[in-house]
Symmetry: C2
Subunit: 423 residues, 2 copies
């Protein structure tokens, strides 16, 4: 399996130091370049690899793929070959682009067709997303929210330590990095007991999350166990699950957040496979009370992924406002998937499941402005002056994530989104 | 426009009295018959009309459709032609099958290719559903729930009269009539203060709902006004939004129902167009307090649709346990769609939006066993003996709906679902 456990492996494509995309990563995405139709790509260093061209030129022969798996605007076709298919494909790419391999390296004409400068492509939404589920699996985040809005001495709701709480979100409004969002409008209740008003959201927030994408699942009525879960997970990306806190507060009882969330969720465009992330597995936290048997798991299903969030006002420098880590999750992906399907709910190829806001135990690791500014009571001072309680118009919010081990850095790139004023 | 405003129109296909499908209906669905691949059909009387064959034989010429609009397992292709396309197609079908038209009627060979006995087809899921939203728009239902679980004197939550409350549901587990469901398993809390337990749901319930399907919407960031809403709605079906009340109670605070709902929602397979339903429009209820301006509407957007629910134990007669009507909705579809998109949330072709449980003001019009049996305190007596507080294993729940005017009955057929035991 190609990943950071092979630190000696190098590519004949130059990989700048601190690149998220060494030959050990080999993520998948959908790109558009010039007049070319959208297609499947991978990435090493600052080069995007055109997998359709690679297929047409014969470099992906003797693998189970056909041209329609690469000549398409979503990874869903490729994903129908499952975990083994994705693994075989990454192994082939790793071989083709490794320093000592000359199959492609020596053919300048082919290399020109296959490699494109990353600066010259637009990265599109990688997957046609079926259903989108958002979990709420960071204990620190749930504790912070409970402390602010309910009872500091009883911050977690009674079900939180028993259930990987989650809810259904909106798939249609998931967009890739680089697509700006408009500040949403909606109903809010300025003062308790008065009538609600309509207007632009005043408390626009980000939520630092990670999301995973599923392969084909089981039929309706069957469940996926924690032990089986990994076979159903293709890879991960970073997600900014935009939130309108004032709209949320007025609408969310009793059926949960709706318009406060479904105006946009932004994701990083490269799907990093679970194989690439394998070396970064960690033990999870002790779960006390002991979970019910269908949520028990053996082995390591947590991951050490450094995450950061920056706010960049227009024409000003970025200020990093959060340094968190995916390892802070209480419930892991195997438990989330086992819970989601324990009632027989079917998952499908291309479903997306997000972690919920990933907050750590310290103020500088909180994953939303709601927590960082503690409901707006502690503004963040920006590098070039000014402060933020929530997100302003024309701010760009940038999230980044990476793992590192033995000098190998496996990263996700970034999800960067500019906020435009409400119309 | 072809609908019940043309009561004199008759078809050369025999239409039994009390059929839901006179020539004034002309719904759309997906069927499978023998070795034929799934394809688009319509229906008159007890005959399913094979629209692919009709197209291939040239009877749908000079319309904007191509073969892929009919030779497919979902109505989504057909729906890309929008409201006008669906209207033109219904007009053509109405003309072809009206008593005085001999274009097809006289060609026995063609008629044999085009018409199939409804008993000999399997009706499949009609639409590839993108996002599924469930509203909560019946005032009587919300009042009943609030009375049972909160405060009878303050049954409606503060936001209910201001917001067409809704939440995102699961699209993957929406199934057509005839597909059995398994009783879901999950976590429940038998006694307050104790630990939750895992096992089969003990309080399985139906919810009588209607759902509408959307055409292509507007891009992310734009809104659909109440005035525009009708142009974006293709048609409707009946939905049984299965609910596990004990799972729901333990999981739903604070993010809403999740596993209690997403194990299955069953729909009737024929999509009845809004054109066919036009003659059944009614004034809506007075909305007090006055709604915010983006929810105001002019004209009639409520519909007089009789609905009923029956429970049929295995090898026993059916007992009708609910007679309700879609006219009992407080919030109408135009308001639901305007609210859903006011924050810029984009809808897509094939999205489904359901009404929420449709309860009327009287006990016999309540749309769920939770309400009918008043939390299990008032069991329903079944026709052939026995009683029900909720739904038992091997029960079949059947929902039907129709409108009628001037002797013309426009119906939806039924959604019938058998409950199998948990495994």
């Amino acid at each position: 399996m190609i990943n950071a456990n092979n630190p000696a492996l190098t590519s004949w494509i130059e990989v700048p130091s601190n690149s998220d995309f060494p030959i050990q990563n080999i993520p998948f995405g959908i790109f558009k370049s010039g007049q070319l139709a959208p297609r499947v790509g991978s990435r090493i260093g600052d080069k995007v690899i055109d997998l359709k061209s690679l297929f047409v030129l014969g470099y992906l022969s003797n693998l189970p793929f056909s041209q329609e798996d690469f000549d398409t605007d979503a990874l869903n076709n490729l994903m129908k070959h499952g975990k083994k298919g994705a693994r075989d494909l990454r192994n082939r790419l790793s071989k083709l682009f490794s320093t000592d391999n000359h199959d492609l390296q020596g053919n300048t004409h082919h290399v020109e067709q296959v490699l494109i400068d990353a600066d010259n492509v637009d990265m599109l939404l990688p997957v046609q997303i079926g259903d989108y589920t958002d979990f709420y699996s960071s204990r620190d985040h749930a504790t912070n929210v409970g402390t602010m809005f309910r009872d500091p001495n009883n911050a977690l709701l009674p079900n939180w330590l028993w259930i990987p709480v989650g809810y259904h979100g909106r798939a249609s409004s998931i967009i890739p990095s680089g697509v700006p969002i408009k500040r949403p409008k909606g109903q809010t209740l300025p003062n308790e007991g008065e009538d609600p008003v309509f207007g632009p959201c005043r408390l626009l927030d980000f939520e630092l999350e990670m999301a995973f994408i599923t392969f084909d699942g089981k039929p309706l009525g069957e469940s996926i166990s924690t032990k089986e879960a990994e076979d159903y997970i293709f890879g991960m990306c970073i997600m900014n699950d935009w939130s309108a806190r004032d709209i949320q507060k007025w609408e969310y009882v009793p059926l949960g957040p709706f318009l406060a969330k479904n105006f946009a969720s932004s994701i990083s465009p490269w799907i990093v496979t679970m194989d690439a992330l394998e070396p970064f597995k960690l033990e999870g936290p002790l779960q006390d009370p002991k979970v019910l048997s269908y949520l028990e798991y053996e082995g390591k299903y947590h991951y050490d992924i450094h995450l950061e969030v920056g706010i960049q006002p227009e024409n000003a420098a970025e200020t990093v406002v959060c340094n968190s880590n995916y390892k802070h999750m209480y419930w892991n992906m195997a438990q989330q998937l086992a819970h989601h399907t324990i009632n027989g709910c079917n998952i499908r190829r291309g479903d997306m499941m997000a972690s919920g806001t990933i907050s750590g135990p310290t103020t500088n690791s909180f994953g939303s402005m709601l927590e960082i500014s503690w409901k707006g009571t502690k503004p963040v001072i920006l590098k070039e002056g000014g402060e933020r309680k929530f997100i302003n118009d024309l701010d760009t919010v940038i999230m980044r994530g990476h793992c590192s081990k033995d000098g190998v850095r496996i990263g996700f790139g970034e999800v960067s989104t500019k906020v435009l004023p409400a119309e």
